[in-house]
């Protein structure tokens, strides 16, 4: 394995690992705060227990996210020293603010976890909320830095002397892609976490359908994940139009769009052949790509044939990842639709085994979409590390033997992933003995009346 490939894989693996913990760290505190809010308002012990049980999950995910994030901040230099030397002073601004956000998140989490009965209840509740808010702020800032790599601004570059001048870190932070990318990422985090949490509780409900703890848990999680899933296509559309203008090569790779044409069709499925520039087994909807990219069915969409050969991103990986992202996202949006519909008009469906299975099977789909989406934006930017300015191969560390650190990272993170899953299993196993309200069951024949009132409360 070459050092460049090893470095790219190590970065991808580290980010792919961290992103899951980052998503949970952003969205789960809000679930926890909603449950806590309801406890304060109603005095219902189920919500208190739910908030506590979730906060332990947050603690485990936060700790793992914190160390994997620390690792990433070093890896930027360990793997891409040339990039960091030039880019650090330009795009470092959001990272320096993120330090503050992360700090506040850590402090607020300490207060929330250990503050039960020690600090006034509203300060306690606020600390939980602050964990979420600062988590989201961190997410926005980190994505803004990544967006700069896609749409570098805030400096002048002289290719002849390879110098960066007139640096403006604020302009770099507010680069043209920061908003679309951050919006898409935050919604993805809420969708993925909401469905992952709801899925776990749905799975447990299959065995104990009348358990109130899991019922309330699934509803809060589906409410949050569902709303985000509904908003995501709007954000996706904004992103697509943005990418079409700024990074036509990325859009062409996402769509395996080899030939520049008017009335360009939207490709669904298909196996692209990068050698011949053909796509097999796909379905093409005429004109739709032109419309989605430029808001006009006949508008020309730039194909890979207009991109110099040495500036084309890998097509197959980008295209497959894009398909997986859109497919998983669409599926979750339909589940969310079914949930909201059932909650309003058919409350009984919510306790039905088929619905619970549907939610349970959705558990990994949001995270899968997040990973796939991240792959689209990173692989789709290749061969550039700073779009149009610096190539990834120019940025890589001169140290040989990077494959060994890559293998190490794979082994360590795989071990951690197994351990975290095992710990989550143990959390679930012991719910009944740690929380009295876990034993509360509701009379299923009353289900309809109960849920009706809750619908009103929730909406």
């Amino acid at each position: 394995m070459g050092d460049l490939l090893a470095a790219r894989l190590q970065m991808a693996f580290s980010l792919g690992f961290h992103i899951i913990f980052a998503c949970v760290g952003m969205a789960m505190p809000f679930l926890m705060a909603i449950a806590h809010w309801r406890y304060i308002k109603t005095g219902d012990a189920v919500y208190k227990d739910l908030s506590k049980a979730w906060s332990k999950g947050v603690a485990i995910f936060f700790a793992t996210g914190a160390v994997s994030g620390t690792v990433l901040s070093f890896e930027l230099g360990l793997l891409w020293p040339e990039f960091m030397e030039h880019a650090g002073p330009i795009f470092g601004m959001p990272f320096s603010l993120e330090g503050t956000a992360f700090f506040i998140e850590a402090i607020a989490l300490g207060l929330f976890l250990y503050g039960w009965g020690k600090i006034p209840k509203w300060i306690h509740w606020s600390s939980g909320l602050v964990v979420g808010i600062s988590g989201v702020a961190s997410g926005i800032l980190v994505v803004a830095a990544n967006a700069w790599m896609n749409s570098p601004t805030g400096f002048d570059y002289d290719p002849l002397t390879n110098t960066y001048s007139n640096i403006d870190p604020i302009a770099a932070m507010f680069n043209p892609a920061w908003f679309t990318q951050a919006l898409h990422m935050i919604l993805a985090a809420f969708t993925a976490t909401g469905f992952a949490v709801a899925g776990v509780h749905a799975f447990l409900l299959i065995r104990k359908p009348a358990n109130r703890f899991h019922q309330q848990a699934m509803r809060i999680a589906l409410l949050v994940g569902g709303i985000a899933a509904f908003l995501q296509p709007i954000s996706g559309d904004i992103s697509a139009k943005d990418v079409a203008v700024r990074q036509p090569a990325k859009l062409a790779a996402m769509e395996a769009h080899f030939h520049t044409e008017e009335y360009a069709g939207l490709l669904i499925g298909g196996i692209p052949n990068e050698e011949t520039g053909e796509v097999h087994y796909g379905i093409k909807i005429p004109g739709l790509l032109s419309f989605l990219a430029h808001g006009d069915f006949k508008q020309e969409v730039v194909g890979l044939d207009q991109i110099p050969e040495d500036e084309r991103p890998p097509v197959a990986v980008t295209h497959f990842a894009f398909q997986i992202m859109v497919g998983a996202g669409t599926f979750l949006m339909m589940v969310a639709f079914l949930y909201f519909f059932a909650q309003r008009f058919r409350p009984r469906w919510l306790g039905h085994k088929n619905f619970l299975w549907l939610v349970a099977l959705s558990t990994p789909l949001g995270m899968l979409a997040v990973e796939a989406g991240w792959t689209v934006t990173e692989v789709g930017r290749q061969p550039w590390i700073i779009n149009g300015i610096m190539r990834t191969k120019e940025a890589v560390t001169p140290m040989p033997g990077i494959q060994y650190s890559f293998y190490t990272v794979v082994v360590v993170y795989t071990l951690l992933a197994v351990l975290v899953s095992w710990l989550m299993k143990r959390q679930v196993q012991t719910l009944a003995q740690n929380y009295d309200s876990m034993d509360e069951e509701i009379d299923l024949s009353q289900n309809k009346a109960n849920t009706k009132t809750e619908v009103i409360e929730e909406l």
Binding site: K52, A59, V71, G88, M93, G99, T100, F102, A106, Q427
Partner: protein, 338 residues
């Protein structure tokens, strides 16, 4: 120039706070390396539980200030010292997760608790050792950015007597700090005596390894002693650190909690301060006798200006919140970890 000083001050402040706070967390793992008791383990868990995440943010802040404010230095450290930094990261991953898993594992069975404990303790040792090795290597002067072969480029800079002895000095100092902090975390005389004994041993170890560092410097061709003599401020700092040792010994023996903490903190500040003063304005010594200097490696003015403001504004948020956290939890730790 003003913002350069602000940014540099924050870099030094975050390194210092990382040593004083994060260092003590690492040290709490290290002191359990040779022996521990269930009671002591409990006290340690309670003492660092609510604040340990916050303590480790100082490292992230220091890294961000380095790559944004002093990019050339960040580049050289992450290239030439790639291997020790990578091992340090492995230590941080293992100890951080093991610590969290130990406390939030829903089932506290002996077997898995012991596993977490071992990983935490050994991870702490690896982390402190390689923090020290990295810093030692930065000042030794064996870093060669144009090295032709792997050994000279990536091994020789840090795999030497001096850097490794600085690694052990860091370990001993952090362990000493932790033991002193922990004396006052509990009223139980048995636990108090346990930490007093640990503080003694690690203080002695720090002094002994401190002497070894000077020998190692001589062996590896670093004129540390001569440099020290020619820098009056560093001499003063080291003199204070050494001169306060008898007082330190007696305060620990008498179990004077607050004074011992202050003195142990001051010791660390003095040693770190002496080292920084000795090297200022050099950040990294190179094998050709040259150096990378802080001022010359600084980012453009526009970057330093916004970074300085970000840090100043950030501390307006961080410091009060951190203060509140300590007020709530220090002195009367939570009865039980949830």
């Amino acid at each position: 120039m003003f913002m350069y000083i602000v940014v540099l001050s924050f870099l030094l402040l975050s390194l210092l706070l990382y040593a004083l706070l994060g260092g003590a967390d690492f040290g709490a793992g290290v002191i359990q390396l040779l022996s521990t008791t269930p009671k002591a383990e409990k006290v340690i868990g309670r003492a660092i539980g609510p604040i340990w995440e916050a303590n480790h943010m100082w490292l992230v802040i220091a890294v961000v200030i380095s790559f944004m404010g002093f990019p050339a230095i960040f580049k050289v450290v992450s290239t030439a010292l790639h291997i020790p930094v990578f091992i340090l990261l492995l230590g941080i991953i293992f100890r951080g997760t093991a610590y969290a898993f130990k406390h939030y594992d829903a089932i506290k069975d002996e077997k898995s608790q012991l596993m977490y404990h071992r990983v935490f303790v050994w991870g702490s040792l690896v982390s402190t050792l390689f923090i020290g090795i990295t810093f030692g290597a930065m000042s030794l002067g064996k870093i060669d950015p144009n090295a032709a072969d792997f050994y000279t480029g990536y091994i020789a800079p840090w795999f030497n007597f001096f850097s490794i002895s600085v690694g052990f000095l860091t370990t001993a100092l952090f362990a000493f700090l932790a033991a002193v902090y922990l004396i006052g975390e509990n009223e139980d005389p048995e636990v108090k005596d346990f930490f007093i004994a640990k503080a003694w041993k690690w203080l002695l170890a720090s002094v002994a390894i401190g002497i070894v560092v000077f020998v190692a410097a001589y062996v590896d061709g670093l004129p540390l002693f001569n440099e020290l003599i020619s820098s009056p401020l560093s001499m003063l700092a080291i003199g204070f650190a050494a001169g306060s040792l008898p007082l330190m010994f007696s305060t620990i023996r008498k179990g004077k909690v607050v004074l011992a903490r202050l003195m142990a903190g001051a010791q660390t500040v003095l040693i770190l301060g002496a080292w920084l003063l000795l090297h200022y304005p050099h950040a990294i010594m190179l094998s050709n006798g040259g150096s990378l200097d802080l001022y010359d490696s600084r980012a453009p003015d526009a970057t330093l200006a916004v970074l300085g403001w970000a840090l100043l504004l950030g501390s307006l948020f961080i410091l009060p919140a951190l203060g509140y956290l300590y007020v709530v939890f220090k002195g009367h730790g939570p009865e039980e970890s949830i």
